[in-house]
């Protein structure tokens, strides 16, 4: 190993990069900080160009996250994850037996980490962070904020794209390749819009407490129903509050609309 160890710092916040560099200068004077990256993409490029021995990786960065950078580097450098307070990530790091620092970084904590890194640098090859941990963190980062039922529909109305909150959607009706969305605009007026997503792909993302399928090609919002009129042969029709559309209820779905 070369006499002077090289380091890379990746963090999207410049003040935090500078501060870490400054502190490392105090506790590890012989460390040569060869690169400071502003995001995951730069971190990977600089790693490939300069091959540092130690990488300090912020977990949350725009574009490519620190977790993905770690995966890319594998066992080619000693890794230290840096994260702001985040109970989930901190717990995962603690259990995953990898080096990590919590922002704001405390001096003693940094010294401990540096001591560990120094002894590792002289004694052993770097070990890649366990894939299970990376996987777990990557899923966590992607899932922010919590995944739940669909909240907005992206629809084209005329020339512009609109975000329609599911709260103002009265019904969805399949129209061959498209789906017609019956909704209320911000003035409460009944409007329709087209979206490209087929109804069958939407159904599984809907909140089942609010939306009920009434027919192979129709989903209706319970709050929009004015009344359900019984028809022949175990079918029915739905009339909506404040709009003229009449929606069909098929035999297969009529059980949703029976009185409880």
């Amino acid at each position: 190993m070369s006499a002077v160890p090289k380091a890379l710092i990746a963090d999207d916040e410049p003040l935090l990069r500078q501060e870490l560099a400054l502190r490392l200068g105090d506790v590890w004077p012989e460390l040569n900080i060869v690169a400071q990256a502003r995001n995951g993409r730069e971190a990977i490029a600089q790693f490939e160009a300069l091959r540092p021995d130690v990488c300090f990786l912020d977990v949350r960065m725009p574009g490519i996250s620190g977790v993905e950078v770690a995966r890319h580097i594998g066992s080619r450098a000693h890794l230290v994850f840096v994260t702001a307070y985040d109970s989930y990530a901190v717990e995962a790091f603690a259990q995953g037996a990898v080096d990590y620092l919590v922002k704001p970084i405390l001096r003693e904590r940094l010294s401990e980490t540096v001591t560990r890194l120094r002894s590792r640098l002289t004694r052993s090859q770097p070990a890649a962070a366990p894939e299970s941990l990376l996987q777990q963190l990557a899923t966590y980062l992607q899932a922010q904020p919590t995944r739940g039922p669909l909240r907005w529909l992206r629809a084209s109305t005329g020339a512009s794209l609109r975000m329609i909150p599911m709260e103002s959607v009265d019904f969805l009706r399949s129209d061959e390749k498209y789906t017609t969305v019956g909704w209320r605009d911000e003035n409460g007026a009944a409007t329709e819009a087209l979206i490209r997503t087929p109804l069958k792909d939407l159904i599984e993302q809907l909140d089942p407490e609010q939306f009920v399928q009434s027919h192979r090609s129709v989903v209706v919002a319970l709050r929009a129903i004015r009344c359900v009129l019984k028809g022949d042969n175990e079918t029915a029709t739905i009339k909506l509050i404040g709009r003229d559309d009449v929606l069909p209820v098929s035999r297969r779905h009529i059980h949703h609309f029976r009185q409880m």
Binding site: D12, E13, P14, L15, L16, Q18, E19, L22, R38, N39, R41, P62, G63, A84, Y85, D86, S87, V102, K103, P104, I105, P145, T146, R147, G148, P149, L150, R151, W152, L153, R154, S160, L161, R162, M163, P165, E167, E186, N187, G188, Q205, L222, R223, F257, R258, Q259, M260
Partner: protein
């Protein structure tokens, strides 16, 4: 939800059959009819009222009987028709019965006595003409009452549900003081302090302003746009310290909007959303434009960014926006609204309209 429909029907059984209101209407009708017939009545007055009253009560019972029995009718036969027909037959039948029973033994049947036949004819014909109309009126009014009752029950349930939901969301929001934001910001402040930067006290002031405005905020029901602008400015200053190379912002306001009341966190939610989902995930960052103005009879708050925009998935953003929409609805009803549009080539424009005059929700 559907249980409400089932419960909306009035009571059944005996209570329905001889309900107080029904009894009152029946007897009143009988008395009025009696008074009208009094001038041409040849016999004694009590008999007249007893007969009319008796027939009316009998018709009422028949009306009530067919209302509940038989339980099921063939689809082509409407229950109201059965009830009206029942009443139409019941009234002359009752008079016939009264005359027949009041004939003393040994006397000829009443239809052979000129006077008695005349009395029966008058009572029977007026009863036959009047009774079905009374029954029809009763049916129409009943239908209206049920519809009103249902509408009220629905409305009640809906408002109750929405209140519960928003209370829950509010509590949720209050509990969320973003630790990630706070600690990251503190780390930055410390870096400034450590390097002896003259910027340190300025940034610390922004943090204090942000915390002061953000913490007790949701307990209040309203703030002014001025408060919101102060909060948003403090927040944007902090974020710009953290990502100076990626965040630019402008704030434009028309002075007459600043004193206007708005629900807490209205503007802040839009700005936070723009940073969190537009600027922060973008390598290049971008521009956030805040704009407050009067437009006709409404106030418009616009937050436009040119960040990465909204993901295809659609579920990636919105807890904050949804709860804002809910709070707006609670405070202003339909006269306030929130709209989200995509910008070209990328980014989002979020707009909130508030009525210039607060209407009761």
């Amino acid at each position: 939800m559907y249980t409400a429909l089932a419960n909306a029907a009035p009571e059944r059984g005996w209570r329905l059959l001889i309900g107080w209101r029904r009894l009152r209407v029946t007897l009143l009708t009988a008395i009025v009819l009696g008074l009208l017939l009094l001038p041409i009545w040849r016999s004694d007055t009590p008999t007249l009222f007893l007969r009319i009253g008796g027939a009316a009560l009998f018709a009422m019972l028949v009306f009530g009987l067919f209302e509940q029995w038989p339980k099921r009718l063939p689809a082509w036969f409407a229950r109201w028709a059965l009830q009206v027909a029942g009443v139409a037959i019941a009234v002359p039948a009752a008079f016939f019965l009264f005359y027949w029973l009041s004939t003393e033994p040994g006397h000829p049947p009443f239809w052979q006595v000129q006077d008695r036949l005349g009395g029966f004819a008058i009572l029977g014909v007026t009863g036959l003409l009047l009774a079905p109309w009374v029954a029809l009126t009763a049916l129409v009014r009943q239908k209206e009452a049920i519809a009103r009752h249902q509408a009220l029950t629905f409305e009640l349930e809906r408002s109750e549900l929405s209140r519960q939901a928003s209370d829950a969301r509010l509590r949720l929001l209050q509990a969320q003081v973003e630790p990630h934001f706070l600690f990251n910001t503190l780390a930055n402040v410390r870096a400034l302090v450590e390097s002896g930067s003259p910027q340190a006290p300025v940034v610390l002031d922004s943090l204090i302003a942000y915390l002061r405005a953000a913490v007790p905020r949701l307990q209040q029901h309203t703030t002014t746009f001025q408060d919101e602008i102060n909060l948003v400015r403090a927040y944007l200053e902090l974020m710009q310290m953290r990502m100076p190379d990626r965040l630019r912002y402008t704030i434009r306001t028309e002075p007459e909007v600043l004193a206007v009341d708005c629900p807490p966190m209205t503007l802040m939610t839009l700005v936070e959303n723009a940073i969190r989902h537009g600027i922060d995930p973008s390598e290049e960052g971008g521009l956030v434009e805040v704009d407050l103005r009067v437009e006709g009879h409404r106030y418009v708050a616009t937050v436009r960014d040119n960040g990465i925009g909204i993901h295809e998935s659609g579920s990636a953003c919105g807890t904050g926006l949804l709860s804002l929409q809910e709070r707006l609805q609670l405070a202003y009803g339909k006269s306030a609204s929130l709209q989200l549009c995509e910008n070209l080539p990328h980014g989002v424009t979020a707009r909130v309209w508030l009525p210039a005059h607060r209407e009761s929700a």
